[in-house]
Symmetry: C3
Subunit: 370 residues, 3 copies
Amino acid sequence: MRAVPLPDSNTLEPASGALVRDLRRVPIHPDYWYPLAWSRELKRGKTLGVRFAGEPIVLVRTESGAVYALEDRCAHRQVPLHAGVVAGETLRCCYHGWTYDCSSGRCVDVPYLGRERLPNGVRAYPCREAHGLIFVFPGDATRADERPFPLLASADDRGYKTRRFGREVKCHYSFMHENLMDMNHQFLHRKQMGQMRARCVGRRRGDDWVEVDYTFARMEGKQPVGEALVFGSSKKPGDQANKSVMTVRTGYPYQTLQIRSSEGTLVMDLWIVYVPLDAAQRTNRTFGLLSIRKPGVPFALDLAWPLLVWFTERIFGEDRWIVEREQEAHDEQGADWNHEVFPVINELRDLLRQCGARTVIPIREVDDVR
Amino acid sequence: MRAVPLPDSNTLEPASGALVRDLRRVPIHPDYWYPLAWSRELKRGKTLGVRFAGEPIVLVRTESGAVYALEDRCAHRQVPLHAGVVAGETLRCCYHGWTYDCSSGRCVDVPYLGRERLPNGVRAYPCREAHGLIFVFPGDATRADERPFPLLASADDRGYKTRRFGREVKCHYSFMHENLMDMNHQFLHRKQMGQMRARCVGRRRGDDWVEVDYTFARMEGKQPVGEALVFGSSKKPGDQANKSVMTVRTGYPYQTLQIRSSEGTLVMDLWIVYVPLDAAQRTNRTFGLLSIRKPGVPFALDLAWPLLVWFTERIFGEDRWIVEREQEAHDEQGADWNHEVFPVINELRDLLRQCGARTVIPIREVDDVR
Amino acid sequence: MRAVPLPDSNTLEPASGALVRDLRRVPIHPDYWYPLAWSRELKRGKTLGVRFAGEPIVLVRTESGAVYALEDRCAHRQVPLHAGVVAGETLRCCYHGWTYDCSSGRCVDVPYLGRERLPNGVRAYPCREAHGLIFVFPGDATRADERPFPLLASADDRGYKTRRFGREVKCHYSFMHENLMDMNHQFLHRKQMGQMRARCVGRRRGDDWVEVDYTFARMEGKQPVGEALVFGSSKKPGDQANKSVMTVRTGYPYQTLQIRSSEGTLVMDLWIVYVPLDAAQRTNRTFGLLSIRKPGVPFALDLAWPLLVWFTERIFGEDRWIVEREQEAHDEQGADWNHEVFPVINELRDLLRQCGARTVIPIREVDDVR
């Protein structure tokens, strides 16, 4: 971990914004491991058609149980291979029966053509299954091995109970990162959380990460039960004793949110990633793993679980609603008109710009015509 | 009232149409008072998000009951302020709690920022409530006071009963003006009105208005009951005696339709305006007030009211259908292919072009691709 | 019939594809007779609004029972004439009552204008009714008489029972031709047909036609009942005796599929055409007539008919699904990435390019933005 000096936020994003790339047009960098589906979505001998930033990819679980990822277009007539038939360790296109080896993508049979004249096959992507997720490396395959694979320690730890959740959200991934990292947005969740105020108590930055620490104080009202489960219970409004610390971190391209008790115990551990689905990267699929440390009393957490599910769904629903409104505003305005005053967020935006792909997402101004 | 000489319609809209602006691409002029909502739509302590020609505007009725209009985008992250919370005479954004003064739009609080560093606020629009409508002046605010405010005399007169109605219609506002002003379109309403023939008996024009007088003759069939309520009953087909006169007037940007009996009594008085909702001005929200003079017999009009509502809804529905077809044709053809032969309408088009904004609505030809 | 030498498929569509027009952007040639509706869709005294490649056309059956085709836009305000009223041999626009002669398109009345000042009318198209279809000649009307009118011999022969079918399919017409002509796509219908393998046993080409012969062998499984009805029953898998021959022919712009028994009897005769609806020609309406030779036993075919309907609907549904996926791929890729290895299909594509209109369909790359 290397802490860098923090420039003033105004330096990061000058008023003469012309020199700064519009973050909402920065494509996510493809040279990382991205989850494209939950393991349970892909049955043995079946396929699943998914997308990464507009690229169609077919996930295949062959009869041996192994998982592969191929370009989801038959080399012949470009129809989706996910409508095909899994046969042993090959995938056969549903239309004219062209057959591909799942691990290499090589075309191994065209029923009406001699074997000596077989055409080229389709692209195969590096693919790994872990933590109940199917990860694909959509970028330069030669970099797949060197790139660190996500570690989800709490999700694999029996001391924690983990909820897997997620949905499609109609916005650029950067709005998701900013939403989670700016805890001043507690006001959005006032109906679920009561009047809470976040206080930023520290921040750090490295080459490909940025993190920020918060403490919270209750302004008024009673602590809701759902929140007590996640944050631990606190006795009185404005309680400054027994302080938990929340750390939100973007370690490109993933994000984590961890809550530690004043004794340093990790009581909550969220790992989350926002995978662009369409070429314009205006829709992402969110994959989240929320791990809660089991309390001393056996089954207490299991009993409370439905409440926690309900509570987190409400919070997630509110966040989804607001980031989709942010994206709509950007679509209409055709540019980023944000006036960000919180240094943490300006730093995060700087990071996402630096780590993103070097190309630019082409956009049309939506309101030109309608 | 000043009458100007009427040029020949061919001069107004020459065959070499290249020199004439396409009326369907002329934006409505923003320096007028436009109703953006009915008063009853906005409760005390609540907000209402509306649009004027693509501009998002939030209407706020504060706890004092006063009504204000602000830009409907938080200065911070551009999310809609109409999702915010009214507190006293301020409006607080739902996301991070930035707070605005409703009358000036000034930002008066950012919960996590010192008061000395408050950012700029949002635009405030002149706003007035009258006749059950909330009017906003979306253009140059310095011109709001000098611009005459609409007078709706009959709607405020106890001698008349007034129906408030309206809907979204998917067309440029100019099609609405032309539809109402060209009474030769009675053929469209043949199922509701029977075979009526309009006769144009006079027209006048001023700088920012044009008006036309009609009388009507029934060609065949019986007069429907609904129509008798509006036009007064007439005994026989082709009845030339006891003639009512209808005057249709566009006094930019509003329109009125008045029917006077042969004795000069104003028996029907319609005031109507078509407010563009989207930036392309391909959709308008219609606000209409239809005032009918109460007959001598008490409650007779109240008893007949449901029939009148049904009758006018049918007429309005037919008009809506046809103007949306006109807009569709323009969208496909990418230009105005109309071949107008009625001088009144060519004059009206000339007026709408002259009074409209000087900019041009950009369009795409819809059928290029699909 | 003139047989031309067949160049190698690689010559027809070189790897350096730059010089070859993208077939999916070749408009269908308008100088042919196209069916635009089934006769039963157009009642006496009624109209029907249809489209040919984006051109709106109104079909009218006047009170005499004759059928006419006019431009479906009133010359006045461009609204659809199909909403109008048929009066004798004229059609009256629903809006202001402009009236057109159905056979010439000439404007014969504007109710509020003198007869001496009548404006020009609308375009009239050559129109003929045959075989339960209404045919229109949308191109250069002076060529209508010289162009051969489709002959549907089996449909008019009492020795055959004919099914009329069709649907809208969201793809360029060329995908439909290729689908039917490439019988290697039997794999797509494996659930309906079992494992069948097509063998190409001959092909021929002329100036504006191409045709190919197939025989079929069953690889495994039992012959379904529905198929037996169409192809005739065969006793054993891989049965080489008693061979039927299927001939698929594109005689521009129509297509036929005929099955002849080994004795040379025509047992099945399909005539089919794909009429572009929108200007981009990304949607077509399919009109098909499937004639089955009646067997010796009276009523046997009638009893089996519901099964045949079900069977052909399933097949047609699968074909529709796959060609729409082909179109989607083309829309996303913005070009034709097909890698066709079957010479028959390369020849067909060459023919469709040569016979098509000389203009180019403009396209936008769909995935640029969404």
